[in-house]
Symmetry: C2
Subunit: 527 residues, 2 copies
């Protein structure tokens, strides 16, 4: 009963590669007109603030480099495809250098600080090709913040004589990468720091970075589950499913899943914020939906909820801010106290008892989906609803962070690894890897080195101005949201659920390789 | 952006068929030596209790039957493959009869009682081939119990002049099918009743029925999710995941997923019952696990819990029985009261407030996974555990009931549909469709008509003897459990998680067509 495992099959998958990256040893950057000279950043990034984003072009330089030593870390939450960034980096280095060493620092930035690492040779890398998770070297959320931590990292990279350090992470980790690059230059440390845009949330993107990796796979995994549940709802005609989806800072995941599955309702937090909706208004809308469906004989349904919803409801945001500041219900202002008292007991308890080490409310621990269910139940009662309402709640998050990368993510990440190697070869530091034209054939993908300072702005964090890469929120005038808002009225009473099914890894490009709808709709190549 | 959808691709899949079923018009039954003459059932099944289970063999009768009219219902919870039973039935009827009509009664037995139906022609059937859910005609849990209901069903089938009625359902529904068959014979109604063994729980099986349909797909969907979560746990090294899995009456689902994914721990309720474990002992075992893993630097893990656990813990069973009988905590006996008081508040509330219309505790609403988490937390505190314990809970059930059927389930169900048609052609009533030799090539599958009375026994239900098909529990001396118990010690401290990944529908038979491990291990063809 030794049957072929999917792990083994996937290890043998060979991602396609952009034409420009095929001759990576000949690749050169040409600087773009964009960006550069961010004078407001000159105090924090005196050495790097004038760097410019560069598109790669084929070069004429065919000298094979002699040797290199490169380190790599995963930073933050898992996203499918991370191992392929490392595989691409490895294969590209093998192509560029006569000799090279790749060091994997363990459990995120902590591995850099504490100099914990393993050698990533062909055997290790091959074992993880096209597989999900970050378990090759682990990940972690340590931030490099104190000067002692910066010093420790300088010590580590200097001791190893690293030519490059690749940081695979989200917005925070890439801000950290920019600070590290600046710090190294300031201290005469030659290690070049290169970032890679990772996050299943899809909120790390801008005019150069079309998409973060992992978003495609994660939304496909969630959509498989939601589609299965929706088909079940349409079959059993009994339950209304309230499904919360990961993505605290932006609703891209919920929007992509809504576009894929066509549920009866999907809350987009950015819209709630723009319309300044109250919690009560959202509950009313949901109650209207339940009653309207009941009226046409449909006492079941599927509703999608973004994890970060509560923070986007202005009045709840104020309540949380006050709780964070004062910790006591008795100290709340009157209007916030009224909102607090309107909440179900379960949620009141979670708001009061579940605090992080800084005393802040742990919003990710709040069962927003249960909160909405209980408030809808109360509202139905208030309206003397006589029909049936059987709610069930779900939360999908961890299921999608470490799934087998889709062909799209596997290929995208493999190419990003090549871009990282190209940037190191070109002597760049403080750059983020990107590929433009992702909606085109892989061979036409355009490698880009994005100057991290191009993405950084100063924002207030706890009363202090800090450099950050702003999270990209759902744009209410963007293609994905407009497509959603055109169709959603029809989805309310219909049962137009689409079952997208499990991710396929076969030979049908149509079925297996398509990028997410969000990317397609943003690129306006919609048919 | 019109890409090929998996729904469309799957509609085109052509399941293989058993050799004997290819020439279905020539098929004959030969009666087996087994079963027959269940005299204790003679009062309830006076007309059918002597029926015998029959294996099909190739016949010489090549007369094409002229015409037939057949009805079909789904009964109970969804299971992947149901649509293919109907597709097989349809194709087999097309082969056997010059003319035939297939009627789909809507929303389960209720459709029969109320005579609600749709015609299932080629267009309808083709639209659902190889797709999950029961949404072609819906399902329902109505039981045909009162004499008025039996009369209504007789009226419906007589009015339509149905030759056959196929009931696709679990143990209860097939018991109901047996009663319906008997009732029809008693009343001179010629409609033959044929059952099909459906349930994702895997607890409808016996010496003729090797497996119920839907179990393979559902456990593959759950294992995909569990494997993803396990890989995430091994990457982040932060969370201990408590994952509850559907299956209230038996732990087959949990056992199959454990064999597939190799978690750190899996509770098998049948073992708990056999060992007469207390809730406290289970909590101690789990706490031991958490502490042992912490000691080797692994403050994360994956634990599987069967939905029906609480009923298998003798002391909790007694507590629930007393609560069902008396409804009041103050009326509990001393030992049960002590157990009640040892439970976390959340669970106490659920036990007291969540009652079904008969006043019974709704065990399926109890968050057993949260109960265990809270009790492990208390026990860790009691033991002065100084490590980190970050639990997360999940429940997977509805995600798997309506997924795209695996090739195995799609093929199995399609063949079951043929068996149903063969039994109708042979004039049988009160029979359950089965296929023996499922571990062999599809062409060698042996069609069987199992006399339903062969499966029925009398059991006490609320003080009355009732005919039931006993649920098949996990056998502690069976191949699957023995294989599990051999390996599980090694899984505790190791991270031997296997990521089985999303169900594949490609051309690799090895990867796409393998039957569940439970079946393989029960058949002892283990390599």
């Amino acid at each position: 009963m030794v049957s072929q495992s999917l792990e083994n099959v996937r290890r043998g998958y060979r991602p396609a590669i952009a034409s420009l990256l095929e001759q990576i040893e000949e690749l050169q950057t040409k600087e773009s007109q964009d960006g550069g000279a961010h004078s407001e950043l000159s105090t924090i990034f005196p050495k790097t603030y004038q760097q410019k984003t560069g598109f790669f072009k084929a070069g004429a330089n065919v000298v094979k480099r002699s040797r290199a030593k490169v380190g790599v870390i995963f930073s933050g939450g898992q996203a499918p495809g991370g191992h392929n960034v490392i595989a691409g980096l490895f294969d590209a280095c093998a192509q560029i250098y006569s000799e090279f060493e790749l060091l994997g620092f363990l459990e995120g930035p902590r591995g850099l600080i504490e100099d914990q690492w393993i050698a990533l040779d062909a055997e290790v890398v091959d074992a993880y090709r096209n597989l999900g998770g970050f378990d090759m070297i682990g990940s972690g959320r340590t931030k490099i913040e104190s000067s002692a931590q910066f010093e420790a990292v300088r010590k580590t990279v200097t001791a190893h004589g690293l030519d490059g350090l690749v940081v695979i992470g989200g917005d925070d980790s890439n801000t950290n990468a920019a600070l590290l690059a600046e710090d190294f230059v300031q201290h005469g440390v030659g290690t070049q720091v290169i970032g890679v845009p990772k996050t299943i949330d899809g909120d790390l993107k801008n005019r150069f970075v079309e998409l973060s990796f992992g978003f495609d796979t994660a939304t496909r995994v969630y959509s498989e589950m939601i589609g299965n549940i929706a088909t079940d709802a349409r079959s059993a005609k009994k339950y209304t499913h309230f499904i919360k989806l990961m993505g605290r800072s932006a609703s891209h995941v919920t929007l992509e899943c809504a576009l894929k599955v066509q549920p009866n309702f999907a809350i987009i937090a950015e819209e709630v914020q723009a319309k300044e909706q109250s919690l009560g208004q959202i509950v009313e809308e949901l109650t209207d939906l339940v009653m309207a469906r009941s009226k046409v004989g449909k006492e079941y349904g599927v509703i999608l909820i973004p994890e970060g919803l509560l923070e986007f409801i202005p009045e709840v945001k104020r309540l949380i801010d006050q709780l964070n500041a004062k910790l006591e219900v008795s100290a709340l202002e009157e209007s916030e106290r009224a909102i607090f008292e309107s909440l179900p007991r379960l949620i009141q308890d979670q708001l009061l008892s579940d605090r992080d080490p800084h005393g802040n409310v742990q919003l990710s621990h709040i069962d927003t989906e249960k909160l909405l269910v209980q408030m809808v139940e109360l509202e139905l009662k208030r309206r003397n609803f006589s029909g049936a309402f059987h709610p069930l709640t779900h939360f999908f998050g961890y299921e999608g962070r470490s799934g087998f990368p889709s062909n799209f993510d596997a290929t995208y990440c493999y190419n990003l690894g090549f871009v990282a190697a190209a940037l190191i070869k070109e002597g760049k530091t403080g750059y983020l890897c990107a590929l433009k034209n992702l909606m085109q054939e892989v061979r036409d993908w355009q490698p880009v080195g994005v100057a991290l300072v191009d993405l950084i702005e100063m924002q207030e964090r706890k009363g202090k101005l800090k450099p950050v890469i702003a999270k990209a929120l759902v744009e209410l005038d963007g293609g994905p949201f407009l497509s959603f808002s055109e169709k959603r009225e029809g989805w309310k009473l219909g049962d137009d659920y689409v079952q997208s099914g499990p991710i396929q890894f076969g030979d049908s490009a149509d079925l297996c390789n398509a990028p997410p709808l969000t990317l397609a709709l943003e690129s306006s190549v919609v048919s």
